[in-house]
């Protein structure tokens, strides 16, 4: 390894730590260091504060199940389509076989496959819900994720219920090749039919929402909500910086930046998400989609 390679590697690994926002738990398992202000946070306090730093307001990424717990009325969630799993249509191998990656992710995170779907109540309104899980292969959309999202849209359509999707995804799952690209069209087509039926669709674009997910169902909602400092975009920052050969400003592709340019309806701190969804749902009650 040349000295230049060593520096390049070091720069790359630093970038990864910053951009991946991994939760850095301290060795005793009781404390987590805030990624933004570095304050040591007692895990129980962090949990009670919905995984938001009480010191600086930094929003940690949360798993799909944690998110569901934070959003829906207690005890109302019933999971759907849990038996759908990814397969390996191409026999894809990169530095590791896709099959192995899948098995590892299932072992670590359960059978969600990047998205948990179901029905639940939010402040008394029954909705169909899909919540993506960035921890499962970067929340990438393969055939299984596309199918679960599509079925959730169809469930909402048939039951005349509002649809809520919480996105967190790096984009299409490359290991399924063009089939994953086609999931963009599949989900968008289902949403177009849902929209024709007058269905209400609210999306929460969580950190991060990029690529094939942001360029399909995520941005097709009637109302687009995000959380503070969430990264949302089509192309990744690094790809853009390499293409234009200059640095993008720090606020580039943050929710605040998107709000300024009219791409979002609002940024809602996590503690206010549930009441905001409840209010929006009530304001649309009586519309065709919410009355069976």
């Amino acid at each position: 390894m040349t000295l230049r390679d060593w520096f390049a590697d070091r720069a790359r690994s630093r970038q990864l730590v910053d951009s991946d926002r991994i939760r850095r738990e301290m060795p005793d398992g009781l404390w987590t260091k805030c990624n933004h202000c570095s304050a040591p946070l007692y895990n129980k306090d962090l949990e009670a504060n919905l995984q938001v730093c009480p010191k600086c307001g930094y929003h940690f990424r949360v798993s799909a199940w944690t998110r569901i717990g934070q959003l829906v009325d207690e005890g109302t969630f019933s999971q759907t389509h849990a038996s759908i799993r990814s397969t390996d249509p191409l026999g894809f191998v990169d530095t590791k076989p896709y099959k192995v990656r899948l098995e590892e992710s299932y072992d670590r995170l359960g059978d969600g496959d990047g998205v948990i779907t179901g029905a639940a109540d939010i402040e008394g309104t029954t909705i169909q819900l899909a919540v993506m899980d960035f921890a499962f292969m970067g929340g990438s959309m393969g055939s299984a994720v596309g199918e679960k999202i599509t079925r959730t849209i169809e469930d909402a359509h048939e039951a005349h219920r509002p649809l809520i999707i919480v996105t967190a995804s790096g984009g299409a799952r490359m290991q399924e090749g063009t089939l994953s690209l086609m999931q963009m069209a599949k989900t968008s087509s289902a949403l177009a039919q849902f929209a024709e039926g007058g269905g209400l669709y609210l999306a929460i674009l969580a950190d991060p929402t990029t690529g094939g997910v942001s360029a399909s169902f995520a941005t097709l909602a009637d109302i687009l909500i995000s959380e503070p400092a969430a990264v949302i975009g089509f192309a990744g920052r690094r790809v853009i910086e390499q293409t234009i050969r200059q640095k993008a400003p720090p606020e580039f592709q943050t929710a605040e930046w998107l709000l300024k340019y009219g791409a979002l309806d609002m940024i809602v701190p996590r503690s206010s998400l549930r009441p905001m969804l409840g209010q929006l749902l009530r304001m649309h009650a009586g519309q065709p989609a919410t009355v069976a």
């Binding site: 799993r85 299984a144 299409a172 490359m174 177009a192 929209a195 360029a215 399909s216 995520a218 975009g233």
Partner: protein
Amino acid sequence: MESSRLTSRKLVFDFERPIVEIEDEIEEFKRLAAQNEVNLDDEIARLTERVTAARQTIYRQLKPVQRVQVARHPSRPSALDYIQNICEGFVELHGDRQGYDDRAIVGGLASFEGRTIVVVANQKGRDTKDNIMRNFGMAHPEGYRKALRLFRHAGKFGLPVLTLIDTPGAYPGIEAEQRGQSAAIALNLFEMSRLPVPIVSVVIGEGSSGGAMGIGVSDRILMLEHSYYAVISPEGCAAILWKDPSKAKMAAEAMGITAEDLLRLGIADEIIPEPLGGAHQDPLAAAHNLKAALGPHLAELSRLGAYELVERRAAKYRAMGRFIEEF
């Protein structure tokens, strides 16, 4: 990526070297014949046959990454070349009506076999200057909005739509993001899926990622023999999964991006043969093949009513994907 070199203004790929060697030999024989006033026609004819045979062998066995090279050949016919050769009376329509005309996407009205159609296409440049104007075929959100405006025009007047796909991807830039690249593409998927007229897409070169998909939701997808259609460019895939862009060859093979792969996966409906050595060897023949393939699809789809078209398109995309369901 394998390297390529420019000889006498003609791009030659590494894998074409055996062909070039014989071609050089022919030139040498021609020179000798002229210089010494001897007849070497038989020799030359024999060598010419060998060129054809060598090209056949090589092109029959092209690896995916080599297909990508052919699909990116700078002399490969662009969308406008095809439009001019398969349609009559092309009337280009410009602009998204919201402040910009993106030249990376062209569109307009044309007559195809006596029927008016709407054409929307990714347009790459034919030379450096043109490429700068066309942004190398990479559209900004305005390009997708221009496309959408033309799709709506087609819907309003009951005109079939032809889209020609040839892009390395939607443009990754700060302003493209600022003006809503994701949302522009997403809206096209949404509206194309319900457009009440026939839509046929033909991948003529590069079909890369969401940038291709943004004009690619259709009733039929045809692919030229050496085109590719991928979720991300092989270099992009290699950079992310292998952390090494030079692994593009492996990425191209792993992702299944050739016309045969997509036909097998049920995404492409037909492969359009190219002239030997790629469409750039004989653009007119390539256009002829495209026209011959396109005609029956458009005719067949035009017999369906709007409702049936849209329902069939919805069912087609509904069935896309491979997963398992355990009970």
